[in-house]
Amino acid sequence: MAIVFEKTKGLSNVETHYCPGCTHGIIHRLVAEVLEEMDVLPKAIGVSPVGCSVLAFKYFNIDFQEATHGRAPAVATGIKRVHPDKVVFTYQGDGDLASIGTAEIVHAAHRSENITTIFVNNAIYGMTGGQMAPTTLPGQKSTTSPLGRDPKHAGMPLKISEMFATIPGTAYVERVSVHDPVSIRNAKKAIRKAFEYQVAGKGFAMVEVLSTCPTNWGLSPVDSLTWLKDNMIPYYPLGNYKTLEEVK
C-alpha cells in the first residue's frame, strides 16, 4: 500500500501530555515539519520554557535544552553564540515570554540574536492551573481574576507583536493563529519564514501563535477555537508586523 501521509521525522514517538483540544500539538507539528522541509533537523537545537511546553524536549526529535522560567532567549543566545551555524529556536508561552521573561526576550530581539522564537499565546497560565496572564483579555475569567480581568486593576493585555515591531533589532514579526485549516496553513508559512530569516543570518525572528486552552478556559475544544476567533483575534489582529527585508 502506498504511504500517502507520514508523521514528520522532527517529532519523536513520545505521547504528549497536552490536554484534549490543546493546540500545542499542532504548533509542535508545524515547527517540526518546517525544520524537516528545510532539511535542518540535524542542526536544529531547541530551547523549551517553563510552562505547558516545558516537556517539548521529549516531543521533538532534535537536540534540546530546557531553560529556567522566562530565560529561554538567554539560553538560546548562549547556544547560538557557540554554534552560529546551527538553527536555534525558543518555544515559549505567554507567561514565560510576556511576563517573567520580558527582559530576556526584549534584549534578544534588541541584540538581533540570530534565533527564531515561537511565542504561543493562549491568554492564560496553563500548567499552573489557569491563572491570569499578561495576555488575558479584559473581562476574561481566570483563577486569579475570578470576576474577569479588570484593566483598571491589572492593566490591558500586552500586545507583544506590536511591541516587538518597534524594536530595531527584529527582522521578522508575524502573528498567526491555528483555529482553522486556513489559519494553520498561514501559520506554517510564517514559521517557515521565521526560520528562513535565521538561516539567511538576518537576525531575530518571532512568530506569535494564538492558541487555545480548553481546560482552563472551561470550554470544549471546538468552542475554544470559536472563542479564539471571536475574542482573541479582534484584540490581537493577525498579520505581519515587521519584515526587515525579504528573504528567499
Binding site: 516537556l55 532534535i62 553564540r81
Partner: protein, 351 residues
C-alpha cells in the same frame, strides 16, 4: 619563568583565556568590572565571544546555554550579582554543566558596599539556589594562586561536569601582584558527547534538562549527584597547613585574611607564642580532616574572616567540639588588622 605585574581581575581574564575559555557573559558590577572589560578587549582576538548581558540573570542563563552546547565558558560578578545568579547555578549543577563562575566578593547584606569582604561564604558553599547541589569553590590567597586556580577550574569543571566557583574577595580582584602563566597540568578529560550541538543526523538527540516529574527519577539524579560530590570530596579537598607543629593556637582563614593572619603569627612567635594556620583552598569540599589531626598542644582555634562568622560554622562541624573554636571578624569592607588578630589571640590564651 617570566612574571607579569597584573591586577587580580585582569589576571582572571588572562588565565581563563589561557585555559581555553572562549565565551564570557556578564553584567557590570563593582569591584569586578576589569574582568568583563579585559574579556571584551581580549576574547575577540582569540576567536572568542564576549557578550554584555542585560542582567546577571540573563548572563548565567547564557552560560547555561553555552555550557550545554559544549563550550568552555565563564561569567564573573560580585556579591549582589551572584545573588541574582543563584537560580541559574542550581540548574547548571542539576544538569551537570561545566563552567566557571567568579565572585569578587564585596560587603553585604543588601546593596552593601564595594570594599572587600568574605560574607558570601554561605552563598558559595551552601548555595542560594534550591535543592541539594554543590559548587566546587576555590579560594585563592594570592594572584599567582588565583591565576593557577582559574586555569585549573575549567579542567575541574569539565572532568566532574560541575560548575566551579572562584571566590575571590575584593582585595584579590583589585590588588596588583606579579604572576606567571605557567603550564598547569593538563587533565585527561572526557568527551562532551552529551552536549547539544545538533544531532548531525547520526545520534539520538541530546537533552539538557533538570525537570523530573517522577520522584524516582529525581531521587536517582540526587543519588548520582551525591556520589559525584563524594568523589570530589575525596579527590579535590585542598588546604595549606602552616606552622601547626607545637602550636598553642591555630588560626583558620582563607583568601586575603589568611595572609594577614600569617603576619600575626610572625609577631606572636616573636613574643614566644606558637601559632599555626589552616588555610582552606577549597571551601567546598571543606578540608575537614585538617581540623581532626591537630597537635595535642592546641588549646583553641580562631577563625578569622571578613564576615560576621560564616566559615567558622564549618570549622566547628569539622572539630566536633574537641577543641574550643572562637571567631574574630570584621565586615562591611573593614579588614582585620594584624594587631587586632594578635590581641584577639592573646586574650583567648589568657596572655
Amino acid at each position: 619563568m617570566e612574571k607579569v605585574l597584573m591586577k587580580g581581575n585582569e589576571a582572571i581574564g588572562a588565565a581563563a583565556i589561557k585555559a581555553g575559555c572562549r565565551y564570557f557573559f556578564g553584567y557590570p558590577i563593582t569591584p569586578q568590572n576589569e574582568v568583563p572589560e579585559y574579556m571584551a578587549k581580549e576574547l575577540p582576538k582569540h576567536g572568542g565571544v564576549f557578550l554584555q548581558a542585560e542582567s546577571e540573570v540573563a548572563a548565567i542563563n547564557m552560560v547555561y546555554g553555552a555550557a550545554g552546547a559544549g563550550a568552555r565558558v565563564m561569567t564573573s560578578s560580585s556579591s549582589p550579582g551572584l545573588a541574582l545568579k543563584q537560580e541559574g547555578l542550581t540548574y547548571i549543577a542539576a544538569c551537570e554543566l561545566p563552567c566557571l563562575v567568579v565572585n569578587v566578593v564585596r560587603g553585604g547584606p543588601g546593596l552593601g558596599g564595594i570594599q572587600p569582604a568574605q560574607s558570601d561564604y554561605y552563598q558559595a558553599t551552601r548555595g542560594g539556589g534550591n535543592g541539594d547541589y554543590k559548587l566546587i569553590v576555590l579560594a585563592p590567597a594570592s594572584l599567582q594562586e588565583l591565576t593557577d586556580m582559574v586555569q585549573e577550574a575549567f579542567d575541574l569543571a569539565d572532568y566532574y561536569r560541575n560548575p566551579v566557583m572562584v571566590l575571590a574577595d575584593g582585595m584579590i580582584g583589585q590588588m596588583m601582584e606579579p604572576v606567571a602563566f605557567g603550564e598547569i597540568p593538563q587533565w585527561t578529560l572526557p568527551e562532551k558527547n552529551w552536549a547539544t550541538t545538533g544531532t548531525d543526523g547520526d545520534r539520538a538527540p541530546n537533552v539538557i534538562n533538570s525537570l523530573f516529574l517522577a520522584p524516582e527519577e529525581l531521587e536517582a539524579l540526587n543519588i548520582r549527584l551525591q556520589a559525584k560530590y563524594q568523589t570530589i570530596k575525596a579527590n579535590e579537598t585542598r588546604c595549606e597547613i602552616y606552622q601547626l607543629e607545637d602550636a598553642e593556637i591555630v588560626f583558620t582563614a582563607y583568601g586575603t585574611t589568611a595572609r594577614i593572619v600569617k603576619n600575626a603569627i610572625k609577631i606572636l612567635k616573636a613574643e614566644g607564642i606558637k601559632a599555626g594556620l589552616i588555610r582552606p583552598m577549597t571551601l567546598w569540599p571543606f578540608p575537614e580532616a585538617a581540623y581532626q589531626a591537630l597537635p595535642k598542644t592546641v588549646k583553641c582555634i580562631l577563625s578569622v574572616e571578613m564576615s560576621c562568622g560564616q566559615m567558622v560554622d564549618d570549622v566547628r562541624l569539622a572539630v566536633e567540639s574537641k577543641v574550643p573554636v572562637a571567631f574574630y571578624g570584621r565586615s562591611g569592607g573593614m579588614i582585620p588588622t594584624v594587631d587586632d588578630i594578635v590581641a584577639e589571640a592573646k586574650q583567648l590564651l589568657g596572655r
